[in-house]
């Protein structure tokens, strides 16, 4: 083999340098599609914080008040929406009373979608759960809600909240037993406003945020978290369902392994040359 590819007169090294982007794209697409056509079924180990979240919700008693906020855009449905759907289903199974708010404008629409997709287990709107809607102003909105959770005279659908039984179940933010929020950015505003006000705070977070919130986990300010779709797959495993997120894990294994291989390959030649040249 003389190292040349074809009539172009290009050798392998030049070919790889010229078409590396296209080759990488094709390999990524191949590894992404392969498990969709031929599932592999790689076992899914559990992360300790997913277990902690699951058992925290499992320990809720019927009627416990839980505050949920949907603070992400539809583009994050895969990372956060699937996990929130699993958690909402678990909460309805435990017959918790749920108050839903949103600090992102898209939150109420996503909450509305999830409520339409899960089994509500006979829960009655206004008595067992309510969607209060979008609270603008981001951190100012959070501070306003924390100081007065009954700030809304109408819910997201325009219904008056004054006669809803669930609205009489709380007066202050501390009446909530648990707060679960889903966000895709730094959690500092949520921690600043809610930390110390509600007993248990759980975050459903995009995987890239997880390393940054470990200090809050360490101090207990954030009780636990679910790390995106990987956490959702683990949660589905704990709930005993074979959901959407579980199906993605085979492809995750293959494609993320490619990242590891590329890191090693990219540096092998470079380091060999650098260390050999000394």
């Amino acid at each position: 083999m003389n190292g040349r590819i074809r009539g172009d007169g290009m050798d392998w090294h030049t070919f790889m340098s010229k078409y590396d982007r296209q080759i990488i794209f094709l390999v990524v697409l191949f590894l992404t599609f392969l498990p969709a056509f031929r599932p592999i079924g790689i076992p899914l180990p559990q992360f300790y914080l997913t277990n902690k979240t699951y058992y925290a919700i499992e320990s809720l008693k019927p009627g416990d008040l839980v505050l949920i906020s949907f603070d992400f855009t539809p583009g994050e449905w895969v990372e956060l929406g699937i996990a929130m759907r699993d958690i909402m289903q678990h909460l309805f199974i435990k017959r918790a009373r749920i108050v839903i708010i949103a600090f992102d404008p898209n939150g109420p629409a996503i909450a509305h979608r999830i409520l339409g997709e899960i089994d509500l287990k006979g829960a009655v709107y206004g008595t067992d759960y309510v969607v209060l809607g979008y609270i603008p102003g981001f951190e100012t909105g959070m501070a306003a809600f924390v100081s007065n959770p009954k700030m809304f005279e109408r819910d997201y659908y325009g219904n008056p909240t004054v006669n809803m039984p669930i609205m009489n179940a709380f007066n202050t933010i501390s009446d909530f037993k648990m707060y679960i929020f889903a966000c895709l950015t730094w959690v500092d505003p949520w921690m600043r406003q809610f930390s110390g006000k509600i007993e248990t705070i759980i975050g459903v977070l995009s995987s890239d945020i997880v390393p940054q919130v470990m200090p809050y986990i360490n101090t207990g300010q954030l009780y636990s978290l679910i790390r995106g779709s990987r956490g959702a797959a683990e949660y589905e495993q704990l709930m005993g369902i074979k959901g959407e997120a579980t199906a993605f894990m085979d492809a995750a294994s293959l494609t993320v392994s490619l990242g590891v291989i590329l890191t090693i390959v990219a540096n092998y030649g470079y380091l060999k040359k650098k260390l050999g040249g000394r």
């Binding site: 180990p45 539809p74 609270i135 102003g137 306003a144 470990m214 590891v260 390959v265 990219a266």
Partner: protein
């Protein structure tokens, strides 16, 4: 009427709102609590009005393209059609609005976000070189965290996850704690700078 243009007016507004929202947390004075409630109400209303500013900018941008019949102006027409379709269906046909939002808009948003993944891989292959000790630490942590998110590594080589968990819970946690403290100090510093008039973002 030149007084309305003075820089001091937004600075005074910033200071008043800042001190009301800051002091209400530390001082339990009824007047302050009531002022804070009313202030937060006003800010929520202003923030809701602010949501429309991005919309206006986009409408002006696409409107200009259509008016000037620039190349590809039909794409701008599609923008207005999509916007009016979803907005009007929330009032005229809410179930169709739910369908558009859940079945069309959500998957489309996911598809548009996909590109970052592909460019991550090309960036790793082209630019990720361990040139010094700092980059070596970076690569070490990156590789082990990647392994943490690929279940196959945890199953085949469980020790990789022990290392990944250690990185996450010890050095990463310590450094992130330092960053959190730094961010908090920076937040306070920026607020003081605005109050003293050094930051002109809000005052002009």
């Amino acid at each position: 009427m030149s007084w309305v243009r003075r820089r001091e007016i937004p600075l005074i507004i910033f200071a008043v709102t800042f001190f009301i929202s800051l002091l209400q947390y530390y001082l339990k004075i009824p007047f302050l609590a009531e002022a804070n409630t009313e202030l937060s109400n006003w800010v929520l209303i202003m923030s809701t009005f602010a949501l429309g500013t991005g919309l206006i900018a986009l409408c002006m941008y696409h409107g200009k393209i259509i008016m000037q019949r620039r190349k590809g102006y039909f794409v701008s027409i599609i923008f207005f059609i999509a916007m009016v379709m979803l907005f009007s269906s929330y009032y005229l046909a809410p179930s169709f609005a739910d369908y558009l939002y859940n079945e069309i808009y959500t998957p489309l948003s996911i598809a548009i976000i996909c590109f970052t993944a592909f460019y991550n891989y090309t960036a790793i292959y082209r630019a990720f070189r361990i040139r010094n000790l700092d980059a070596a630490f970076f690569a070490f942590a990156a590789v082990f965290l990647m392994m943490m998110y690929a279940p196959v590594f945890e199953v085949v080589i469980p020790q990789t996850i022990t290392v990944a968990n250690w990185i996450l819970d010890v050095p990463n946690m310590g450094a992130s704690r330092g960053v959190i403290i730094g961010v908090a100090l920076g937040t306070i510093a920026i607020a003081v700078r605005v109050l003293l008039g050094y930051e002109r973002a809000y005052t002009g």
